[in-house]
Amino acid sequence: MRRLTVAEALREAIREEMRRDSTVFCIGEDIGIKGGWGGAFTVSLGLSEEFGHLRILDTPISELGIAGVAVGAALMGMRPIADVEYGDFIFLAMDQLINNAAKLRYMSAGKLKVPMVMRIPVGASGRGAQHAQSVESYFIHVPGLKVVCPSNAYDAKGLLKTAIRDDNPVMFFEHKLLYGAKGRRENVDARAEVPQEEYLIPFGVADIKRRGSHVTIIATLRMVYTVVSAAEKLKDEGISVEIIDPRTLIPLDKDTILKSVRKTNHAVIVHEDNLTGGWGAEMAAFISSEAFDYLDAPLKRVCAPDTPVPFAPVMENYWVPGEADVIRAVREVMGG
């Protein structure tokens, strides 16, 4: 089978859905310019050649406007795929996403729907505090929004197709170091085999990346890779790790997570975002409540510290949770 990068897989998902449904279109900055980059991370490269500049719609630098225009277009039966170039810019669009996209259906008592996708690149990648944040956690707190975090090309394609067809606003988070853009040393290899045949991945179904019996680790996006390599090392110590990638945070596959924790009796949550108030807090709260009698030790969160993201690689590397942090946490949870 073909191995695609995440960027390629996303592009394919968009292309397929745009061919299938003429109401799907892309809107964002620098996404369709001739001789340009296909967005900040090449995802829409080449699409304007096929679909033209109205359906791959380049915008002014106006994030609030982009989100609001996407809401309006969605209300009238289009299926916009909007994007911000870096997740950090989403704060400019929060009003339209939280006050309009997430609420218009409710305010209209179900007469309206807002089928839009907001693509949001996240993660630290050596660019300093304003181009590095992981912002998923803000959105799990907004009733009316769905939250998706694919960790590899296969998931990225299947989930994006589902997102595009979903009748609700979907916040779709992509990690910058997973795109697989050429030539970036820091990149993690998130390529995967992607079938030629069409497939969709339903929301709310976690992926068990690895079966294990001693401890359950829940991680998303780039952290999945960190956890996988930590698990390899822990195996040598005789610790058997089960790794769950929830893939969608809203809706959340609570069953799979609970089943695992009830089996392993130990849980560790890993995300690249700051600790306090991150989605790991909700996960921890939920597991602590629902698997209370099964936990043999307090669960641990392995997260970035509560600071902005520093520029210097030596600091940023320390800031991002690493293999060693995961290993340490697992050992602690296991009472080591």
């Binding site: 106006s62 406007g65 809401v71 209300l75 009238m76 289009m78």
Partner: protein
């Protein structure tokens, strides 16, 4: 100028309907019979009516925290507006919206967006959808003078302009954003001048003259339908009452108030129509009575309608 007499009467009736509707609503609020808060549109009726008289059912509008007039003008049934104010299941938002989110997409009105300026990008996006789908529909965004200082105004109108969207931006300049006089928050005589930042036409009209509003909107909407892009129409107007429910409006200059209240759009239209021979005092009374009966009916309907169940809270979050 060629607006047929029956069209003029229709507009007049709508204005009377809005005025009387809000008179009653105001009293119901003050007496504690209605929940929530309200922002009355009284004094600005000519704007909503003059603009919407040019719209078809499938055309769409966005509105604001002050939406009753837009809702009535766009054709949301008065009963369902009233029921919504009473927080009943028969309301246009089944009690989930309330005064500030009045609207019904079935007649082309998005639930009003009460975040000042927040509807402008949404209207722009709706117009974009029409262009993409090659539909002969237009979008209208109503907003206030205050809203024109929001970033949303700037970003959205710029986008509407560069894509030549079928769209009209209607700024109702009633001289105040809440308690703040427009002269304190912008150094401009006419907000319409801001259109030049986007290379689109900016037009000033007497917002208390429904005929002027009608004509300006007509022209702009024709442009829009022809694919020539949006227009910013500034309607100079004034609200008769306070900003919201219980506001006495003491920040307003008495002289200014006097001048503007004398320009009331309804008595002006009344006088005009009589002068034009289209209306008689008697016919006018007839309209008023008819309108009042409709409102009575709406109140009765609303009061008799069932309240939502608490558990309805959980409905309509996701599609």
């Amino acid at each position: 100028m060629g607006i047929p007499g029956d069209k003029l009467i229709k507009m007049y009736r709508k204005m009377i309907l809005i005025r009387n509707f809000e008179d009653r609503v105001h009293r119901l609020f003050l007496s504690g019979e209605m929940p929530g808060t309200i922002h009355l549109y009284q004094g600005q009726e000519a704007v909503a009516v003059g603009v919407c008289a040019n719209l078809r059912k499938e055309d769409v509008i966005t509105s604001t925290h002050r939406p009753h007039g837009h809702a009535i003008a766009k054709g949301v049934p008065v009963k369902s507006i009233m029921a919504e104010l009473f927080a009943k299941t028969t309301g246009c938002c089944k009690g989930k919206g309330g005064s500030m989110h009045m609207g019904d997409i079935e007649v082309g009105m998005v639930p009003a967006i009460a975040i000042v300026g927040g509807g402008i990008p949404v209207a722009t996006g709706m117009a974009l959808a029409f262009k993409m789908k090659r539909l002969d529909r237009v979008a209208v965004s109503f907003f206030g003078d205050g809203a024109s200082n929001e970033g949303a105004f700037h970003e959205a109108i710029n986008m509407g302009s560069i894509w030549d969207l079928p769209l009209i931006y209607v700024c109702e300049n009633n001289l105040y954003g809440a308690s703040t006089h427009v002269s304190k928050v912008m150094k401009l005589k006419d907000i319409a001048e801001r259109a030049s930042s986007y290379g689109i036409p900016g037009i000033v009209v007497d917002g208390n003259d429904v005929i002027s509003v009608y004509k300006a909107a007509k022209e702009a909407i024709e442009r829009a339908r022809k694919g020539e892009g949006p227009t910013l129409i500034e309607c100079k107007t004034y609200r008769r009452g306070g900003h919201s429910r219980s506001d006495p409006g003491q920040y307003r200059d008495k002289k200014e108030e006097g001048i503007w209240l004398a320009k009331d759009p309804i008595s002006r239209m009344h006088k005009n129509l009589i002068k034009m021979g289209i209306l008689t005092e008697e016919k006018g009374k007839g309209i008023e009575n008819e309108v009042k009966a409709r409102i009575d009916e709406a109140i009765e309907f609303a009061q008799k309608s069932p309240s939502p169940k608490p558990e309805d809270v959980f409905k309509d979050v996701f599609a």
